[in-house]
Every structure is written in structure tokens, then in C-alpha cells.
């Protein structure tokens, strides 16, 4: 523990100003002032701390004990912070991952009701895709339950294609433009985060945008990987506060994790753009 000179032990002047201080009798420092000064100077062994509500029981606490207690408190604080961060991450992953995947499966099955009559073969393929998606969701949920991180090695291009495919029943002109070489070159963590961002963005379009056309694109632009999710729907307020249901704060948090840049632009009745830029190399 750092010890400093006991300057506060010097008696203090009652009046202000050098002349007054010289003339007036010096006040003896209060107990608290002396204790603080002695603590800094290493002149005391222990503090006397009331150990019970009635001031009838006192406990001596040496500095080692106080430091140990402080360390314990800091450790608890760190553990609590880690738990809060982990909870936040789980919420984000469940919201942007599993829930969006299940939502997309629901959209596919809804489309199947029409396809069963009009194009049974297409319907069968869609059901098979939905089944595959549900298996992935089960895999993700098992990872959450076991405490392992969700699988990180994903085929981002294929996953984005799947999102686009599942969405076409609600947004007829949904395009997916993915540079496969860019997707393949991404670090696994970046690919997972971009996929979750895309899922969240597309989910917003399907649920809220009432769009006629939309696009997901992934490309390299000026040495940056750019993910864009664009639609021509009713738009949204990009400055809407947290908790308004659009999950934009989840997107922002993921972009922050990637040390990237997020641009949200939207005009009422003229659509919206979510553009994420991250560093291009692994």
C-alpha cells in the first residue's frame, strides 16, 4: 500500500488567509482527518469498524483484510459483469439467430400452403429446406444449452441465399447478391455476426416494411466488406430508442463487436438501407 507523508497531521488553521492563520490558534485535526492521513502514511494497523447495527459490536480490520475484501468485491464485480455480458450475448444470439431462423421456417411453411396445390415438387423442396433449417436451429439451441459457442464455421453465402429464398413469399422481388469469394474469406466470427445482422434486417423488412422489392448484398468495396440490406418499403425511424422492437441496437452491438461501421438510412414511404462495413481481411 502506498504510504505518503503525513502532511494532514499538521494542525490546521481555523481562519483563512496567511495573517489570520498566523494569529489564530491552530485547530487539532479531526479523527477522520487524522485517520485518513495516518492511513496514507502507514502509521496505523487497523480500522475499527462497527460490525453490527447497534454500534455495540466492533471489528478490527487490518489493511490486509481490507485489501482482501476489496479484491473480493472487485472479483465479484468482474464475475457479475461477465455474466451480464454473457446474458446480453445469449439474448442477441437467440433473438437474431434461432428466433429469426424459426420465423423464416414459418414463412416457408406458409408459402407451402399455396405451393402444395400449385407446385407440389417445389413445396416438397421447401419443406425439406425448412426441415434442414430447423435441424440447424436445434443444433444452435443445443449449443446454448451445453454452454458452447454456436457453431462458427458457416457458409455465409448459402445462408444468405436461404434467407432470400424463404422471404420471397412476402417480398416478391427479393434479390440476394453475394460475392462468394468475399464471404469465404471472412473470419468465422465475422461471418456469424454478418449473418445475424442480415437475419435481423430481413426480419424487419418482412414484418414491418411492406416492401415490394428488397436486396441483400455482400461485396468488397474499397478494401472493406460491405453488407447491405435495402428495401423500398415504408421506412423506419433510424433514431428510434432502444426497445422499439426493431432490434437495431442488436445490429449496432454486433457491428461494434466487429469494429465496423453502421449506416442506417430511411425515408418514410421510400424504403430503408442498412449498410455494414468491416475490415476485409481475416
Amino acid at each position: 500500500m502506498a504510504r505518503r507523508a503525513a502532511s494532514a497531521h499538521k494542525p490546521r488553521g481555523r481562519a483563512s488567509g496567511p495573517a489570520a492563520a498566523a494569529a489564530a490558534p491552530q485547530a487539532w485535526p479531526s479523527d477522520a482527518e487524522q485517520t485518513l492521513a495516518a492511513l496514507r502514511s502507514g502509521l496505523i494497523d487497523a480500522l475499527v469498524i462497527p460490525a453490527g447495527p447497534g454500534d455495540h459490536v466492533y471489528a478490527l480490520r487490518t489493511f490486509d483484510e481490507i485489501e482482501a475484501a476489496n479484491q473480493k468485491l472487485l472479483d465479484s464485480q468482474e464475475r457479475l459483469l461477465a455474466l451480464v455480458n454473457e446474458r446480453e450475448r445469449l439474448m442477441q444470439d437467440l433473438h437474431d439467430g434461432c428466433i429469426q431462423s424459426i420465423y423464416a421456417v414459418g414463412l416457408s411453411l406458409e408459402e407451402c400452403r399455396r405451393l402444395i396445390r400449385e407446385d407440389p415438387k417445389h413445396a416438397a423442396r421447401t419443406v425439406a429446406d425448412a426441415q434442414a433449417s430447423l435441424n440447424l436451429v436445434i443444433q444452435e439451441l443445443r449449443s446454448f444449452i451445453s454452454g458452447n459457442s454456436p457453431p462458427t464455421a458457416i457458409d455465409l453465402a448459402a445462408e444468405l441465399e436461404r434467407i432470400g429464398h424463404a422471404t420471397r413469399a412476402h417480398v416478391p422481388l427479393f434479390k440476394v447478391e453475394v460475392d462468394r469469394s468475399v464471404a469465404a474469406a471472412l473470419a468465422p466470427e465475422s461471418a456469424v455476426q454478418l449473418l445475424q445482422i442480415a437475419r435481423e434486417g430481413v426480419s424487419n423488412i418482412v414484418r414491418h416494411a411492406k416492401a415490394g422489392s428488397a436486396r441483400i448484398s455482400l461485396r468488397l468495396r474499397a478494401d472493406k466488406v460491405e453488407l447491405a440490406i435495402v428495401d423500398d418499403g415504408v421506412g423506419f425511424d433510424p433514431h428510434a430508442p432502444k426497445g422499439t422492437g426493431l432490434g437495431l441496437h442488436h445490429i449496432a452491438a454486433r457491428v461494434q463487436k466487429l469494429a465496423g461501421r453502421l449506416r442506417l438510412t430511411s425515408t418514410r414511404m421510400k424504403g430503408s438501407r442498412i449498410v455494414v462495413e468491416i475490415a476485409g481481411s481475416r
Binding site: P11, Q26, W28, T35, A38, L43, D45, L47, V48
Partner: protein, 108 residues
């Protein structure tokens, strides 16, 4: 009219006749507590001319005694007499400060 300087009343002696009644709060034989007791004995012998009594209270044995003099830290010397009560917190290694605290020397 210029008032004559107030004459200081002669210090009252304790029941045992000591001019300085001192009480040192310690916590067992820790380094600072032991140093405080040794410093106090030395300072008293050198500067209090035999007119003192020293009582040592070990708060490890009876922490509740801290309540009476509202002790915050260990070691603490309490000058019960002459009044007013004065506390000097620390290991009493700064002799000048202890003498000022006991009013043996005037404040600098």
C-alpha cells in the same frame, strides 16, 4: 479597552495525581501498536516529568471498548486529562506532533 490576555487555568491533576491521563488503544502486539506504546513511554519519560499515567486498552481482547472513546483506528492515543479530550492517531513516531497533541508544546 485592551483586555489582558486570558490566564490559562492550571491543569487539573488526576485522582492519582497525574497531570496527564493517557489511554492508548492497541490491537495485540502488531508492529504499529508495539511501536506506539514504546514511543509513548519514551515521550512521556522525556517530556512529562513523571506527571502522567498510561492505560493500554487492547481492542483485540475487547473490541466493544472502542465505543467509549469512538476509536476509528489503531493505534490511537487518547489524552483524557488535561481536558479537553484529545486524540492522536498513529504510531506516535513523530515526537513533535505528539507533544503538540498533548499540549506540551504550542502549535507551530
Amino acid at each position: 479597552m485592551i483586555k489582558p490576555p486570558a490566564r490559562k487555568a492550571p491543569p487539573r491533576k488526576t485522582a492519582k495525581g497525574a497531570k496527564y491521563e493517557l489511554c492508548l488503544y492497541v490491537a495485540g502486539n502488531t508492529a504499529k501498536s508495539s511501536a506506539a506504546l514504546a514511543n509513548l513511554k519514551r515521550i512521556a519519560a522525556d517530556h512529562l516529568a513523571g506527571e502522567y499515567s498510561i492505560k493500554v486498552i487492547d481492542l483485540l481482547k475487547n473490541p466493544a471498548l472502542a465505543r467509549g472513546d469512538q476509536i476509528l483506528a489503531i493505534p490511537t492515543l487518547v489524552r483524557r486529562l488535561p481536558s479537553p479530550i484529545r486524540k492522536i492517531i498513529g504510531d506516535l513516531s513523530d515526537t513533535e506532533r505528539v507533544l503538540v497533541g498533548l499540549d506540551v508544546k504550542p502549535h507551530a
